[in-house]
Amino acid sequence: MSVIEVAVLGFGQTKYKTSRADVGTPELVFEAVSRALADSDTELRDIDAVVFASAPEVFEGVYEPERWCIDAFGGVGKPLIRVHTGGATGGSGPLAASRLISSGMYENVLVVGLQRTSETADAQQVFTTIFDPIYEQDVQLNVITGIALVASRQMEFFGLTEDHMAAISVKNFDNALRNPYAHLHKRITEQDVKDSRQLAWPLRLLHTCPRSDGAAAVVMSSGEKARNRSSAAWVRGLGCAADVYRIGDRIHDTESDYAIPRAQAWSAQQAYTEAGIIDPRRELDVVEVYAPFSNLEVAYYEALGLAPHGKGIELVETGATTMQGDIPVVPSGGCMTANPIGATGLIRFGEAALQVMGRAGDHQVDGARLALATACGGIDQFYTSAVLASEPKQ
């Protein structure tokens, strides 16, 4: 029995902004879906099933936004699955779609990612509610403070400095200047980063991500369909892993010690194993990592096997992950320059697909043939990884 391979045929995304008040939510979804269909040269009637990826509804202004948007993605009469793994939602969507296709259930699956963060008054206030309500919320935690606890351990034990974090921010903002869809188009200097407002030491405003409205969509298909296309991004490996709930439980474990997110490492290893990747630093051409904070990007260099344990900062110091380096990370600017939460993982996946199809425009990495996309959700608790290639396995 031959294995059913899976490929991405096309990707569509919206312009990301603090508020997309210029369109309603279904129109925002339609903007992404219609671009994905056009990019993949696919008709809506050819779509067999839809996976809808949208994270906390409290951001959306409506519950079950897939109901309101059903016509915008042509869902009537078709199987529909909603996925939600916090920030990792946009990574879980294509993962689910891939398995639906490789199992032989459906041939063409549309994945839609949506988040309209502008509909919430204060996202960080909402985020306090994701922590243990009995023993942890009283200390006034949120996403930023949770990640700041990672950053201070990276600084104490792995040599991370404000210089490294500033260099990451500058790299990602520079990359975003070549991505017309990015939310933030602003040239910044390392001094700007160091002068930006303190949020939770050692994290400053320019170490973090914006709150964005936006949607994204990909069309995925069986290898049989994809073989007839002039370009497709082939799904070579997928991974997915969850970690424990409480941050305190992730300190003093032997694998990560709450400085290197271990569930990201677990999920990446699954994807590498499935893809047959042994040395990710040498084999991968480009990485679209879901890193909403500059310190996390450095931690992920290690979790993803791009640098040895404790050596993530060396990739910053050598410029290896810039567009001129040997392993560019987030050529699109990444989530530090656009973060519609539930859609963000799907944007990483779609951008990685564009890279291996050679269609990433001004932020194309020359000759990219093998790419990694990740997603992260629930304060470092849920992770996905996907390896995409320019050629099929067989």
């Binding site: 204060d122 960080q124 206030q125 985020f127 306090t128 922590f131 243990d132 309500p133 009995i134 023993y135 942890e136 919320q137 009283d138 200390v139 006034q140 935690l141 949120n142 930023i144 403070t145 700041a148 606890l149 990672v150 950053a151 201070s152 351990r153 104490e156 407002r197 303190q198 949020l199 939770a200 030491w201 050692p202 994290l203 409480r246 941050i247 305190g248 439980d249 300190i251 003093h252 709450y258």
Partner: protein, 140 residues
């Protein structure tokens, strides 16, 4: 610290959690200790996360720990909350458990990883929360 505005959470009763909060009200820090493997754990849950035993009891903690990680928060999730304040994970070193907490009684810039601390009680709205404060140097 403006205690009027912190915390909005009830601490539900029940055998699992009530003894912890009853103890804090008496200014006593307690922790679950497993009768099977002898290890401490936190937060309280029905089965010991180390060995799976349900044979555990609350025992007093010495309240002496070190800072495992920390951050100085300049923008509170609840905007009414007075900043800056310190969020930290503290290791109860001798007892082998840790908890998410606040460091109080010291400016944020003086906190560091590895700093010896001891429990210090924070009162608000009728609840008593365990915070930590630097141990007197003489006592270290």
């Amino acid at each position: 610290m403006n205690s009027d505005h912190r915390g909005t959470n009830d601490h539900p009763g029940g055998e699992l959690t009530a003894p912890f909060w009853e103890a804090t009200a008496r200014h006593e820090l307690v922790r679950p200790v497993c009768g099977s493997c002898g290890r401490s754990f936190f937060v309280p849950q029905y089965l010991c996360p180390h060995c799976g035993s349900e044979n555990w009891e609350y025992e007093p903690s010495d309240g002496r720990g070190t800072v495992a990680s920390y951050t100085v928060v300049h923008r509170a999730p609840d905007p009414r909350f007075e900043t800056p304040y310190v969020v930290a994970v503290v290791d109860l070193v001798e007892e082998g458990w840790s908890l998410m907490t606040n460091i109080v009684g010291v400016p944020g810039e003086e906190v560091e990883i590895g700093m010896p601390v001891e429990v210090s009680w924070i009162e608000f709205e009728g609840d008593t929360l365990p915070g930590f404060t630097p141990r007197e140097k003489a006592a270290v």
